[in-house]
C-alpha cells in the first residue's frame, strides 16, 4: 500500500476509520465545527447547503427485519493523492487560481479561502462532495463569537472550504518540535479534532508512510477499503469493516462483478 502514497520518506498523513467501532454519535462533527470555526445555519434541514467538513452517512444492507444491518460511515475530505505519485487529486489541478493546494511534504489537500473566488469547479470535480461552499456569510449567534478558535480564520460568503486535517495543529506541532530541537514530531502531537473527540477510538490518525504509526498497520488490514478506489482518486482515508456488504458499498460494481476489483486489491494480488 505504501507505494501508492509516493516516496516512503515523505509524510502522508491520513486516517483509518473503523466502521465496526463507529456508533454514529456525531462527536467528530461537533469537534470539527468547534475546532475549525465552521458556521451553521438557523435551519439545518437542507444538508446540501450545510457547511460540514465531516459528515456521517447511515448505510444499510437493504435487508428486511430481522436481517437488517446498519453501519455509520463518517466522511471527511479524502485527501486524495490522485493519479500517479505526484499529488494529482481531482480537485487541485482544476482550480483556476491555485486556491487549493496539495502539500508534497504531508499529502494534505488544503484550501486557501482568501485566494478562492468561488468558481466551484473543485466542487464539481470532487466525487465525495467533500467541498463546501459558503452560500451565506457566517453568523455567530450571541456570544459564540468569543469562543471561536483563534488559530483558524473564519471564511466569508462566496468561497469554498473543506477539511484541512486540522493543519493548524500540524503547524503548532512543528513549531513545538523546532523549539525543542527536534526534526520530527510525535504521532500524538498532531491529531485532528475529530480523531481526538471520537469516544470509541474509531478514528486513528497518523503518517501512512511511517511504520511506527498505528495507521501504517491498520491500512493493510484485510478489513480495510477506501471509497471509490476504481476512480483512481487514491484517498488517504481508509475504512475498516468486517462486513463484506459494507466494504462493497465503498465502490461501484457492475452486476456481473462478483467481487470487488479495486486497484488496491490488484496491487495485493
Amino acid at each position: 500500500m505504501k507505494e501508492e502514497h509516493g516516496d516512503k520518506h515523505t509524510k502522508r498523513y491520513g486516517m483509518v476509520i473503523d466502521l465496526d467501532k463507529c456508533t454514529g454519535c456525531g462527536a467528530c462533527m461537533v469537534a470539527c465545527y468547534a475546532e475549525n470555526n465552521v458556521p451553521f445555519k438557523k435551519d439545518e434541514t437542507d444538508k446540501l447547503d450545510s457547511l460540514n467538513w465531516i459528515r456521517i452517512f447511515q448505510l444499510t444492507n437493504g435487508k428486511p427485519y430481522p436481517d437488517t444491518e446498519i453501519c455509520y460511515l463518517p466522511m471527511p475530505c479524502q485527501h486524495c493523492d490522485g493519479i500517479g505519485k505526484h499529488g494529482h487529486p481531482p480537485c487541485v489541478s482544476v482550480c483556476p487560481a491555485i486556491a487549493t493546494d496539495y502539500d508534497d511534504s504531508t499529502g494534505v489537500v488544503s484550501q486557501i479561502p482568501t485566494r478562492c473566488f468561488g468558481c466551484r469547479y473543485c466542487m464539481a470535480a470532487c466525487p465525495y462532495h467533500a467541498r463546501k461552499f459558503n452560500w451565506w456569510d457566517p453568523v455567530w449567534p450571541a456570544d459564540t463569537k468569543k469562543y471561536l478558535n483563534p488559530n483558524v480564520s473564519t471564511r466569508m460568503r462566496g468561497v469554498v472550504e473543506k477539511c484541512t486535517l486540522c493543519f493548524h495543529r500540524y503547524q503548532q506541532a512543528r513549531d513545538k518540535a523546532y523549539l525543542e530541537g527536534r526534526e520530527e514530531i510525535y504521532e500524538s502531537e498532531y491529531q485532528p479534532a475529530c480523531a481526538q473527540a471520537c469516544p470509541t477510538n474509531a478514528i486513528t490518525f497518523g503518517d501512512l508512510n511511517n511504520p511506527d504509526h498505528a495507521v501504517f498497520k491498520l491500512k493493510n488490514s484485510p478489513r480495510a477499503f477506501r471509497l471509490l478506489e476504481r476512480l483512481h482518486t487514491n484517498p488517504k482515508v481508509y475504512y475498516l469493516s468486517s462486513k463484506t456488504w459494507v466494504r462493497r458499498a465503498g465502490d461501484n460494481y457492475l452486476e456481473n462483478e462478483s467481487r470487488p476489483k479495486s486497484n488496491r486489491q490488484k496491487i495485493h494480488s
Partner: protein
C-alpha cells in the same frame, strides 16, 4: 445645413414609435434580469437553487451553450477569410455581431456566477496553467477582444460615423487586415471551445463526464470545438431567419444560407460520427472500468432517461445532419429551418448533459441522484443576455449596414 441620417441610405426601417416600443419591451425584460443580477451580487449565491452537489448549474450551461452558439463567428470567419468562401461575406457581419453578443453574455454570466465577483481577476493573476478553466478565461477574453475589433468597423460604417474621416479610414484599413483577426479568432476559438469541453472531460472523479484523450486533452476537448463549428453557423442562420421574419424583409440570399448550411451539415455529420464513437467507447470501456454500466447513468431518477441521449444524438444530431447535407433538405425552407433548429437544440442538450447530468449522477454508491430546478433569479439572469442580444441586434440592424445584400433584395424604388 445638410444632416447625415443615422440610418443607412437605401434601406427601409420601421417607424421611431414602433422601434421604441420594441426596445422598451426588450428593455423591460433586461431590467428584470438586471434586478436579479443585483440580488445575486449583493445578497450572494444563496439567491440561487445551487447547492454543494450542484456547484455548476443553469449559468454554466448557459455559458457553454452561448459560446457554442457564438461559434458561428469564428467558423464563418474562418470560411470567409481563410478558406476564401467569398459568398459568406454577405453574412459574416451578422455572424460577428451574434458572436459578440454571445461572448459578452458569457463573460457577464461568469461574472454573476462566481461567489466573489470582485476577485474575478484572480483567474488571470494567480493563473493555474493546469486548469481548463484558466485556459477558458484567457482564450475567452482574448477572443472577445478579437470580436470587438471585428465589430468596430461595422459600427464605423454607420452613415454618421462614416463621415468622420479618421473613422472612415480606420474602418477601411481594419477591413483590409480582417483576415489576421479572423485567423487569430480561429486559433483562440479552437482552444477555448476545446477547453470548455475539457472542463468536464478531465474530471476523473465524474464517470459520466470523464473521457480519455490525447496527452492532456480529453476527447470532449475536440468534440466541443467540432460541435461549435457545426452548430454555431446554424445559430447564425436561425437568427438571420428570425430577423427576416420580424423585419418582413429578405436580408441574405438563399445561396449564401445554403452554402453555410451545407458546410454546417457536413461538420455536423462528421461530428456526430465522432460523438457516437466517443459514446460507444465511454459506454463500453471507460464507464465499466469505473464500475458503472451504461444504464446506470440513464435510470433510477425522474428526469434523465435514455431519451435524452436519443434526443441529443439521433433527433438533434443525425436528423439535422441528414437534412443539411442533402440538397433537397437545404432547398426546402421548412426542412432547412427544422435542421437548423434541431442542430441548435442538439448542441444545447449536449452542453446540458455534460454539466447538469454529470452532477446529477450519484458517484458515491450510497448517495442518491441529485435533482435541481433553477430559482427565478437564475432564470432571469439567464434570460437577461437574450434581451441584451435583442437590443444589440435591433440597434445594429437599424443603424448599421449589416447585410450587404439588403438593398439589392429590397429595392426602395
Amino acid at each position: 445645413m445638410e444632416t447625415t441620417p443615422l440610418i443607412p441610405q437605401g434601406v427601409k426601417r420601421c417607424s421611431k414609435l414602433q422601434f421604441s416600443l420594441w426596445m422598451a419591451a426588450a428593455g423591460a425584460v433586461l431590467l428584470w434580469g438586471v434586478y436579479a443580477m443585483y440580488l445575486v451580487w449583493f445578497k450572494g449565491l444563496n439567491q440561487t437553487n445551487m447547492n454543494d452537489a450542484y456547484g455548476f448549474a443553469l449559468w454554466i450551461w448557459a455559458d457553454l451553450a452561448v459560446i457554442a452558439l457564438g461559434g458561428g463567428a469564428f467558423f464563418t470567419g474562418f470560411l470567409t477569410y481563410i478558406i476564401g468562401k467569398d459568398k459568406l461575406k454577405n453574412i459574416i457581419n451578422y455572424a460577428v455581431i451574434i458572436g459578440f453578443i454571445c461572448y459578452s453574455s458569457a463573460l457577464l454570466i461568469l461574472a454573476i456566477d462566481i461567489g466573489q465577483p470582485l476577485r474575478g481577476w484572480f483567474i488571470f493573476w494567480h493563473a493555474n496553467v493546469h486548469s481548463m478553466l484558466t485556459e477558458v478565461a484567457f482564450c475567452l477574453s482574448c477572443y472577445f477582444a478579437v470580436l470587438t475589433i471585428e465589430f468596430l468597423p461595422i459600427i464605423f460604417e454607420n452613415p454618421k460615423l462614416d463621415r468622420v474621416p479618421f473613422l472612415h479610414h480606420l474602418s477601411h484599413n481594419m477591413h483590409r487586415i480582417m483576415a489576421v483577426f479572423a485567423a487569430t479568432g480561429v486559433f483562440l476559438s479552437f482552444f477555448h471551445q476545446g477547453s470548455l469541453g475539457g472542463v468536464s472531460g478531465v474530471l476523473f472523479g465524474r464517470p459520466f463526464a470523464f473521457r480519455e484523450g490525447i496527452n492532456v486533452w480529453p476527447w470532449t476537448f475536440f468534440l466541443f470545438t467540432w460541435s461549435a463549428a457545426a452548430c454555431g453557423p446554424c445559430f447564425t442562420i436561425l437568427v438571420t431567419w428570425i430577423t427576416e421574419k420580424l423585419t418582413r424583409k429578405k436580408l441574405v440570399k438563399d445561396d449564401v444560407i445554403q452554402l453555410l448550411a451545407k458546410i454546417s451539415g457536413w461538420m455536423l455529420a462528421t461530428y456526430i460520427i465522432a460523438k457516437i464513437a466517443d459514446t460507444l467507447y465511454w459506454a463500453m470501456v471507460t464507464a465499466p472500468s469505473m464500475g458503472f454500466s451504461f444504464m446506470d447513468f440513464y435510470s433510477g431518477n425522474p428526469v434523465y432517461g435514455i431519451w435524452i441521449l436519443i434526443l441529443e444524438i439521433v433527433i438533434c444530431g443525425i436528423v439535422p445532419a441528414v437534412i443539411l447535407i442533402t440538397r433537397k433538405g437545404r432547398e426546402a425552407k421548412s426542412l432547412l429551418m427544422l435542421g437548423v433548429v434541431l442542430a441548435v437544440v442538439g448542441v444545447c442538450v449536449n452542453r446540458w448533459v455534460m454539466i447538469l447530468q454529470m452532477l446529477a449522477v450519484p458517484v458515491v454508491p450510497f448517495e442518491e441522484w441529485f435533482m435541481y430546478a433553477p430559482s427565478w433569479q437564475e432564470v432571469a439572469t439567464t434570460i437577461l443576455p437574450v434581451a441584451y442580444g435583442i437590443l444589440v441586434i435591433s440597434l445594429a440592424h437599424r443603424y448599421l449596414p449589416v447585410f450587404p445584400q439588403e438593398r439589392e433584395l429590397n429595392p426602395t424604388n
